[in-house]
Amino acid sequence: MSEIISHSAVAPATPSAPIAQPSAQSALGRIGSYGLWIGLAAILLTAPLVFRSGTALTVMSLMGIMIIFALSYNMLLGQTGMLSFGHAVYFGLGAYFTIHAMNAVIDSKLAIPVVVMPLIGGVAGLVFAMLFGWVSTKRSGTAFSMISLGLAELVGSSSLILRSFFGGEEGVSTNRAKLLRIFDWNFGPQVQVYYLIAGWCLLCIVLMYALTRTPFGRMCNAVRDNAERTQFVGYNPRVVRYIAFSLAGLFAGIAGGLATINFELANAALFGATQSGNVLLATYIGGAGFFFGPILGAVLVTFLQNMLSDVTEVWQLYFGLMFIATVMYAPGGLAGLIMMHRPLWRAGAIAKLLPGYLLMIVPAALVAVGAILLIEMITHLSVKAAEGPVMKMAGITFNAAGVPAWSLCIGTLAAGVLIWRFASGVAARGWDDARAVAREKGLTV
């Protein structure tokens, strides 16, 4: 009996997990997963000691918010197979209800600290998701996506009408430092806000992971894979979708509450289409097929959004290219790419990949440099035509309309593509070799 139980304890969360060993591994697995949580807590705790700058703190705070938001989105996309175009609705409403609650607390001088305020956002997200989800989760697939888009439009336009609640153009502002202090923390300084966000982030990650390991969480996957068949094992897929949608709204609302505490502001941009798109991009680029995928995506996308916008005006273009590349060449996202290597790692065959991968760096860098040069030169010539053809990049001043620059650009691209063909052959052979080793060891790839 105990063996049966331990079998189930190591039953894979991911389809690619190899055949599990009995009890010994389940004990290890348990320690391993606790270790993972402790490691995560340690990272969140020490990050501000490593990255001390004000920018770093701001960006890390945004990452924490985006992690919760993206994970909540993936309860729909990756776990239950629901593509929503309006998830920011619950994020934004969570933000607004939080900020109004904060202002009410400040006005009435209630002894409530800002730490608990995201709960208000969570409840708002939950209530509105239960309301709107009642309609949208009656359908699945494309119809669900379209309804989610319609609801987003609806809430977006009502924000213009209900000005007293949504604050019109300038939105609603607050002062987070005016709520109850905890010891000598008033959560005014960014580092204190960071820790507030990090704490909520850790809690939400743990809770959302735990949700995947419940009967409901397992049936989400079943509905995603084959909604029809779930009806013949006693489940109403609509109820599963509805619960998933409601809980996703709860966590999105918490994220929105944290965002409003972070910005001390709530405006219509929070539940706009851009925000709904962002969370989709982050989740997809990180990898919707694995629980940790959206965490990677949230970190990467937030980082790029904040860093790229400093160095280039067309950062959204790069962003779009990255998304297209993910959809086309790595549909499993970053997490999918990583997990693809797991059986090879276990088989000890990962070294066989190194030569090919190292070789690939050369053409990848060449193509990247060529493409960036191309994009930036075109941007300069078209958008900044008034400034003339002379531009500056990476400290070098050159003529964007001149032959040398264009020769260099096209030459780099061409060389990159040529070397790519050769290097990808080497990489593919390394991949085949490593796979053969893994197969021999009985690790299915």
Binding site: I19, R218, M219, V233, Y235, V240, I243
Partner: protein
Amino acid sequence: MTATTSAAPMSAATTDRTAVANAVPPALEIRGLKKNFGPAEIIRGVDLSVARGERHAVIGPNGAGKSTLFNLISGLIVPTSGDIRLHGESVNGKPAYQINRRGLSRSFQVTNIFANMSVWENVRCAVLWPRGGRYAFWRGVDNNADVAARTHQVLTEINLLSRKDIPAGVLTYAEQRALEIGITMAGGADVILLDEPTAGMSKAETERAVELIRRISEGRTLLIVEHDMSVVFGLADRISVLVYGEIIASGTPTEIRNSAKVKEAYLGEEAH
């Protein structure tokens, strides 16, 4: 009414079928069932009664409406008219999940599994509802010993325990068919509908599948669509012949074998 049906001992049904059949309503009773798809009448007035514990085969040429009949009984589609009773209670027009919760489970002619989930997860999904898992999002699933034990038992029975951690989508065809049966039986339903469970299998695979079907239908009511006549005549207590949406004959294997009507309409042309 419910009390008498559920109180009746299951094993009695196999030992003394007629006596039990008189005492309790049939496991499945279909009256005047019709289904039109637009102008096309696909099921044209079917009457069928399956006693508790009976193994009942439905045979008939391709396109006769056998799968449609299963879709109607299991709640996948709604009848145009007529009545379907499960243990004496009407389930007509009820959604599939409610019919399933009342103890009727079905398999599909075209394999219908959770392809991206592990074999273990596939079976466990079918175990959850009747074991009280329901929609619970506040309880863990991996530490549920009862669910794990039943999943383990089903996987052992369908001989897929050694494959439990691989995605169901990469199983061989015969293994997927076994899993299809496993998902169907896992919940412990007492009325089981199997739609061509051995279709596309080799001789040896068919034999193993029939053995499995015989075992899992022990003490249960089985309604099975099957093309392989040796399987049908070896397994079934009673046989109904469906042609163009109508049951033209219903009886014991011997009666069906000797029926001139059946020979003319079906067996004659199909004997190969």
